[in-house]
């Protein structure tokens, strides 16, 4: 059975970011593990997504209610700058879209110069590569997670582009027979 292209706004999820040479050690002290390789992400059993952007910047997102509690200490510490030297907070107010459905790659073919087919191939239910690129002129971070229903791509973007970004993607998705709840 074919699955229509679906775009979902998941910006409301709890999200935390930090970077710096001491960030990885500090996160480990808080019980947050991060992927080893550059530009990789993983999701733990609680549903906490940890993404390493390039080498020493990290993005965390709660994909499940259980994961939010794991993020709270880090979030508070970063907000209050109660952090050791070498750890820098990165405010993440991203506009986030999750995309799924059979015609995902046609959507990306019209909007992104990076080939995301190998990204899907290299991703699993809990880990995969992180792509830092641009879509329709907006800088984005992209991951893919394989679920029983198929691949699900997550796209993080600057919130000031949210209206433009959503309208453009939704228009294309609609042309492709998709749904934008």
């Amino acid at each position: 059975m074919s699955a229509p292209l679906v775009l979902m706004n998941t910006s409301a999820r709890m999200r935390v970011g930090c970077k710096g040479p001491a960030a990885e050690t500090w996160l480990a002290q808080l019980g947050i593990t991060v992927p080893h390789g550059a530009n990789r992400y993983s999701i733990d059993s609680r549903g906490l997504l940890s993404a390493r952007l390039a080498t020493s910047e990290f993005l965390f997102e709660s994909t499940h209610a259980d994961a939010a509690s794991a993020l709270v200490p880090a979030k508070h510490a970063l907000e209050l700058a109660d952090i050791p030297s070498g750890v820098y907070p990165v405010l993440r107010q991203d506009f986030v879209i999750e995309a799924s459905g059979d015609r995902l790659h046609e959507l990306f073919a019209q909007t992104c110069a990076v080939d995301l087919v190998p990204v899907e191939r290299d991703s699993s239910a809990a880990a995969g590569p992180v792509i830092l690129t641009s879509m329709i002129g907006v800088g984005v971070v992209i991951t893919c997670r394989i679920s029983p229903e198929g691949p699900r791509f997550t796209v993080w973007s600057d919130p000031s582009y949210s209206r433009y970004f959503w309208h453009q993607l939704a228009a294309i998705a609609t042309e492709l027979g998709g749904l934008t709840p």
């Binding site: 030297s85 820098y88 107010q93 110069a113 329709i136 000031s160 294309i172």
Partner: protein, 987 residues
């Protein structure tokens, strides 16, 4: 009707008739026809008029290579100009009309233009288009020239561009391209095969030599189509090659940008015409075009033909004509004898009783009363110094005298070419890494050679794709080429004549059909000194028409080589640029992606009646419209609110960046002209960023939030580029600085005016007294329950607080401030009021009051320079500039009462020459008169007055004024607290 009985492999569906009209005449074609084949099937021989002389023109290449067959097509309510009839599929209901006519094809009122030919010599544009005659010429030429008509009533439609990725891209679906695609796919590579025709097989499909299509080619095409590793894009041509193996593919509906790991160019060769008097008459065409009509569309373009040839392909064309029942009046071979390898073909010609002439020199093609060819006059060399004149009646003259390789993409990819005299053709002499060539474009003409070369190119391309991109060593390119070219081993004669150009005393030997260029035009251009291929092209316009020289460049090069008495290789080809074929603007435009940003307060501004203006990628309120208030009245009211009470402006579009780390201050001190290593925590400082030449590129406010923590703003338009530059500098200088771009994630607004403190004090516990929080201070504190960064700034010349906070909380805090300010008459103000306010204060806007050459020395910003620092970007240039006389100086100015107000960019005139320009000008509601900033030469600044030229050449006088215009002592920033309190109480 010229439609033939069913032909093997024809591409039309005779069971699906399609009605259409041409120049108002109702006609019928079949599904699978192109516009041209359907017209030819009805015996329509004149399909258009030439660009300059409006000569009647017929089908020529039937391959989208010439300009003759372009049409205005109306269908489904749209009128599309310049539709290429050679390849445009026929659709039911199409209304087709010729382009470039005045009053219709047959009754073209411009048909007599040729009589004016002697007044329109080569380069007449350049000679005529100047002085007082220019407007007359321009109007005349615009009326006379032009191709189709753009229907402005057409509604825009989107043609989404796509990206595609592949291991190997094969361009061209002829025998060599098919072999390359198959071989690469068999070796596991993912392949995209793009071919401009609707069916794979290339010239093998139509150049049959009176026989069937070669079965091996047909079989190979079927295998490739069925192969899981090959994606075939038919009716798709490669328009341009760009860096890193990006190739733009233009299909019927849209443009696809393909990124390939390796590219195989198998685009074949383009048949070239012979140049002789009358070679543009309807009925004179390329043999390959005639063969296409015969084989693909079952249309006989003539009943009796003469074939001018210089290669085996011409003999094959004669056999094809004979096979389809066309009388072949004669085969006129330009060579003294045919090549021994052609014995099979010449024997078949003899067997069919077709007369062959050798050593032929075409003299003239003559037309009948309707302009169609009726006879060819030619000379045959009898002995070394004697020839005999002959005449052959024919309604078709087919030319097969040679080919030009379709190597534009190879050249764009960076391939080097050499002229191979054995085949009279340019072939690659050097290929870039990851680019491969095979088939006719690489010099292989025999079918077996083309297939073998294609297979090798496919093998090499797959191997290259399997390695990491760009890993191919340079030497491998040369080795690849050697391997590919070694695969041409079948002996045969040259496919191309070295000089198929035959001057006639009366001229009219057309060398470029697009531009109506005669042989004499090139000779005249050469004699006028335009003696290089690039100059000749630009002066004569050869190769500059819609077909981009596909059938003219090579012959023009040969003519130039002859005139220069040099080889064709020495003359060299002109630069090949995208697009290979013309591409419709709809394809190029694609779907409109124009990224634009909104601050998190956008909806609040809407509620307040914001009138929007673009600022870089952003939309910003220009002012807030109120019922019964004009734009100017609104802006002035906003200014007054700030000067006398309190105003609030969204400045969230400013770039907002953090720099972290123990040496962040030192880093910023290298980027900006000021001193930041010693900046106290809790303080801010103005920062000016320069480039290496000392030119101002950005400015902002740098705040020190902690020992190792800085937060700073950039101008609205520069946040992205400056952030990238900072990252580059940190890497280059090996300075471990943590940079965070908060631009989109942070909101910011400026609460300004003498009552700003009174408003803010209601929402925060931070001590706002001047002693505790002085001008240029920065504090982190809660405002309306949200943790914010507060900066005491004075851009608009009043006491003010910039409030920076996470974007998600912006509406809450903005609303709280507006509520708290209600009793003080707070008013939101827009960009226009801010511009007035800052101008009154004499503050510059980078990008408006500066340009790409402005240094701090010219705007009076010496105070922002710490020249005694060890280093900052642009310091050395400024040290040099300080020793030189100044070029210009930014000064304030005022105008006499009642004077016409100049506009920004109006020029300062001194003794009839330009001596500066106005950069900013506004009416100041505070001062009651116009004020402005202008660049002027330093002596003018010293003199104290200057003149500005306004519209219609009028000049107004201006008086230099000291800056700032408002609050010179700066008392508004250190407003006496008692005064502030009294003002607050009064409010």
């Amino acid at each position: 009707m010229k439609r033939l009985p069913p032909v093997e492999g024809e591409g039309i569906d005779r069971a699906a008739p399609l009605e259409f009209s041409f120049e108002g005449r109702r006609l019928t074609g079949f599904k699978g026809d192109t516009i041209c084949s359907a017209l030819a099937a009805h015996g329509v021989t004149v399909v258009g008029r030439s660009f300059k002389y409006h000569r009647p023109r017929g089908l020529f290449s039937v391959a989208n290579h010439d300009v003759n067959a372009m049409f205005q097509v109306e269908q489904r309510g749209r009128s599309i100009p310049n539709v290429r009839g050679d390849v445009a599929p026929l659709r039911a209901g199409m209304k087709v009309a010729a382009v470039n006519t005045a009053g219709g094809l047959e009754t073209d009122r411009m048909a007599g233009m040729e009589r004016l030919a002697r007044f329109l010599p080569v380069g007449f544009y350049y000679k005529a288009f100047h002085g007082r005659w220019f407007p007359k010429w321009e109007r005349l030429i615009r009326r006379a020239a032009g191709l189709g008509v753009v229907d402005k009533a057409n509604r825009a439609f989107t043609t989404p561009k796509r990206y595609a990725h592949t291991d190997v891209l094969v361009i061209g679906g002829g025998p060599s391209g098919l072999a390359a695609a198959h071989e690469a796919a068999e070796r596991g590579a993912g392949v995209i095969l793009a071919d401009e025709w609707g069916e794979l097989g290339g010239s093998a499909l139509y150049a049959r030599g009176g026989a069937s299509v070669d079965e091996s080619v047909r079989r190979l095409a079927d295998i490739v189509i069925a192969h899981r590793g090959v994606r075939v894009l038919s009716s798709t041509f490669a328009a341009g090659y760009y860096a890193d193996h990006w190739v733009s593919l233009v299909g019927p509906e849209n443009l696809t940008k393909v990124r390939a790991r390796a590219v195989v160019v198998a685009q074949g060769a383009i048949e070239q015409p012979a140049v002789f008097r009358g070679n543009d008459l309807p009925g004179v065409m390329l043999a390959s075009g005639a063969q296409r009509l015969l084989s693909r569309y079952a249309v006989a373009p003539a009943s009796r033909v003469v074939i001018i040839t210089a290669n085996a392909e011409g003999y094959a064309a004669a056999l094809d004509a004979f096979h389809h029942g066309i009388t072949v009046a004669g085969v006129l071979d330009l060579r003294e004898r045919s090549h021994p390898s052609e014995s099979g073909l010449t024997g078949a010609i003899r067997d069919r009783g077709i007369v062959v002439f050798h050593g032929v020199k075409p003299v003239e093609a003559r037309a009948d009363s309707e302009g169609h060819v009726r006879e060819l006059e030619f000379d045959v060399e009898v002995s070394k110094d004697r020839s005999a004149r002959h005449y052959l009646a024919a309604d078709g003259v087919w030319m097969s005298v040679g080919f030009a390789p379709a190597n534009a993409l190879l050249q764009q990819a960076g391939a080097k070419m050499r002229y191979e005299t054995a085949i009279e053709q340019f072939v690659p002499s050097q290929l870039p890494a990851g680019v491969f060539a095979c088939g006719r474009v690489a010099g292989a003409y025999e079918l077996s050679d083309r297939v073998a070369q294609g297979r090798e190119a496919g093998r090499l391309a797959a191997a290259h794709a399997a390695r990491s991109v760009g890993a191919m060593p340079e030497t491998e390119g040369a080795e690849t080429l050697r391997k590919l070219q070694s695969l041409v081993f079948t002996p045969r004669g040259s496919p191309s004549h070295p000089f198929p150009v035959f001057p006639h005393p009366k001229g009219q030997e057309f060398i470029d059909l697009d531009e109506d260029l005669h042989l004499s035009d090139l000779i005249n251009a050469f004699q006028e000194g335009f003696d290089s291929s690039e100059l000749l092209k630009r002066y004569s316009t050869v190769g500059m028409g819609p077909s981009q020289g596909k059938h003219s460049n090579l012959n023009a090069m040969r003519v130039l080589a002859k005139l220069r008495e040099e080889s064709v290789e020495a003359v060299g080809p002109t630069t090949a640029r995208p697009m290979f074929h013309p591409v419709s603007l709809a394809h190029l435009a694609g779907r409109g992606f124009h990224p634009h940003r909104r601050t998190s307060l956008h909806d609040e501004h809407e509620k307040l009646g914001a009138v929007w203006m673009p600022a870089g990628d952003w939309q910003r309120p220009e002012y807030y419209a109120r019922s019964g208030e004009t734009r100017m009245a609104g802006i002035e009211a906003e200014v007054r609110a700030v000067r006398t009470g309190v105003g609030l402006i969204d400045v969230g579009t400013l770039g907002k960046i953090e720099a972290h780390g123990p040496i962040a201050g030192e880093f910023l001190g290298r980027v900006y002209t000021g001193q930041f290593g010693a900046l106290k925590v809790g303080a801010t400082r103005y920062g000016l960023a320069l480039d290496e030449a000392g030119v101002i590129v950005d400015d902002g406010v740098i705040a020190r939030l902690g020992k190792e923590r800085f937060y700073f703003t950039t101008t609205t338009g520069n946040s992205g580029s400056l952030f990238r530059e900072l990252g580059r500098l940190a890497t280059m200088w090996r300075m471990p600085v943590g940079l965070v771009n908060l631009t989109g994630h942070f909101a910011a607004f400026n609460l300004a005016g003498p009552l700003s403190r009174a408003v803010l004090s209601q929402l925060t516990h931070v001590d706002l007294s001047h002693a505790a929080f002085p001008y240029l201070g920065v504090r982190e504190a809660e405002v309306a329950g949200v943790r914010c960064r507060l900066m005491r700034v004075g851009f608009v010349g009043e006491m003010g607080y910039e409030i920076h906070l996470p974007a998600v909380d912006a509406i809450h805090v903005w609303s709280a401030v507006m509520r708290a300010g209600e009793r003080f008459g707070i008013r939101a103000f827009g960009v226009e009021a801010q511009r007035v306010l800052r101008l009154e204060k004499g503050h510059v806007i980078v990008g408006q009051d500066t340009d790409g050459l402005t240094t701090p020395l010219e705007i009076g910003a010496e105070w922002a320079l710490r020249m005694n620092k060890p280093f900052f970007i642009g310091q050395r240039s400024l040290q040099a500039l300080q020793r030189l006389p100044q070029r210009q100086r930014l000064v304030g100015f005022t105008l006499p009462a009642g004077s016409v107000r100049p506009k920004e960019c109006h020029l300062v005139i001194e003794s009839g020459r330009i001596a500066g320009r106005v950069t900013s000008i506004q009416h100041s509601p505070t001062l009651g008169h116009a004020i402005g900033l202008a660049f002027v030469e330093p002596p003018i600044a010293q003199r104290g007055s200057f003149r500005i030229r306004v519209e219609r050449g009028e000049e107004v006088s201006a008086t230099v004024a000291s800056l700032p215009f408002y609050d010179a002592p700066g008392e508004r920033q250190t407003l006496d607290e008692d005064l502030a309190e009294r003002t607050e109480m009064l409010a």
